[in-house]
């Protein structure tokens, strides 16, 4: 299959019937393999188990759509940490599914302290936008890219605390990281929107400061308010302001391959498949408005 360009969605179990109901709304499917894998822990024989029966479903989907991989387990931001076994498992999955690209997040979620086995921070935490983290993450991405042999994208993070006194701004950090690591930016517009609401900045000024030429994929999603904060809960409909941001950045994202809608499985029964299709169609309209001949696969 050709490299997908167009509109995609992140797979979750609750979407299973969707693919037969609205197949024309999708050009590719983004898979987070971690959600369908049981990790027995570092050093365990047969560590990564494909226990979920959904793998059969995934194999079926792989016959119908190009797949791309969106990982959550490299924990690229963790200092003094690289999980070679995790990479080996990604390579094995890559052999089977031929993902057109891979991505992970600009954050950390796994740590090793003392003699304890690897533990989970329970949420993705921010890394300081300093040269030290930049070099560390860039080296990991180069290694992954070299092994996997496909493009790799890094996703901008949501954060709920600002790290004081950083050497670089977030746009500077992202630009330098893409350059140093030779990777693309997965620009999550909803993440920018969430941060802009919680930390009171203009999201349009923020995206204008990015090097949009590095953007190869865009995430869109919905969120909700809780306890006076706005959360990236992936709860359904994309906020109007995020649609406007998409329309605003897309003409300058000359390397873009896809726009991916993210919705959490727990919200699917509530919002329904039709509303999912509506979001994807809305994204397609904006895509069609701005796409150039190079974007047609």
């Amino acid at each position: 299959m050709n490299t997908p360009t167009g509109i995609g969605m992140i797979y979750n179990i609750a979407l299973d019937p969707y693919f037969d109901l609205y197949p024309h709304t999708l050009d590719y499917i983004e898979l987070t393999p971690d959600i369908l894998i049981q990790d027995q822990g570092p050093g365990q024989p047969g560590r990564f188990l494909q226990v979920a029966k959904e793998w059969e479903m995934i194999r079926g989907l792989a016959q119908r759509w190009p797949l791309v991989a969106h990982h959550i387990g490299f924990s690229l931001g963790s200092a003094d940490y690289f999980d070679k076994e995790y990479l080996d498992n990604v390579l094995q999955l890559h052999d089977e599914f031929g993902f057109h690209w891979h991505s992970d997040h600009l954050s950390y979620s796994k740590l090793i302290q003392g003699d304890d086995p690897e533990y989970n921070t329970c949420l993705a935490l921010p890394v300081p936008y300093d040269k030290e983290s930049l070099d560390m993450i860039a080296a990991k991405i180069r290694l992954i890219k070299e092994q996997v042999g496909t493009p790799f994208f890094i996703e901008n993070n949501v954060y709920f605390a600002e790290i004081p006194d950083e050497e670089l701004t977030e746009p500077e950090f992202l630009k330098n990281l893409c350059q140093e690591a030779g990777c693309g930016l997965l620009l999550d517009l909803h993440n920018v929107y969430v941060n802009s609401r919680n930390f009171n900045f203009d999201p349009f000024t923020f995206v204008d400061a990015l090097d949009l030429g590095t953007v190869q994929e865009i995430h869109i999603a919905g969120g909700n308010e809780a306890g006076g904060m706005y959360l990236d809960s992936h709860s359904g409909a994309v906020p109007e302001e995020v649609w406007q941001m998409l329309d605003h950045v897309l003409p300058r994202c000359t390397q873009i391959r896809g726009i991916t809608f993210e919705v959490d499985e727990s919200y699917i029964p509530e919002i329904g498949f039709e509303s999912v299709a509506n979001q994807l169609n809305k994204a397609r309209n904006i895509w069609n408005k701005h796409k150039t001949p190079q974007h047609v696969a």
Partner: protein, 236 residues
Amino acid sequence: MSLKSFQEALAEIISSPLIGQAYYKDPASLEQKYSLTEKERNRLLGMIQQKSMKANYMLYQMNRLTPLTMLMNYTLKIIHPQLMPLLHEFWKAYPRTSFQFKDEIGFFSDFLKKKIAAGQLDMPFLEDVLNIDDALNDIRFDKDETSYVNDDFFTLHPLARVVHLTYDATALVEAMVTYDAAQPAPDVPVAPGYYVLYYSGRLRCYPVDAATAEALLERRAVEDIPEELVDDEILI
């Protein structure tokens, strides 16, 4: 080493507002526990003061609670009146969790069992319900499905487990469907003994005598084959 230490400290801080506050009041304790540069120390102390940190605390708690609500349904219904204090105590006793739900529910089950054994937790049906949740999770996470396999003619179905309960298993499971800790405890017959639980989306319970249960648990041949278990293809 320093950035790693900063990350460990931040991970600890977001797990509870009390931890951050304690470090803020006594920065020396933060420096003692973690090897931080001056800049990293100041960063953490600055972050602790930010209003937005409450979203970190909230998300940490929500994410840590998720596996329990998904996989320890009966137990959570029973402990509901004391849920938050118990959770805070659990998180304090087990400050680190793994990436796998299976580990987290194992930690929580151990935590509750220790409290029950120490006489610190006495709630109706709790011990039985915890045994049932453990058995169900053991079935859910059984990767090679060989828990009871022996070389003899009859083997227990991979989706079945043997447990020892105080109350009648079927009546208890039925009572749990509508159980509400705020209402008077339902009438469930006391029937101490062994039960075989079979779970494939729906749970079925079979009382078995001690000799049969022990044979199954020790993977020995069952002398007196219980017909019902054979008919229902639980002994295969």
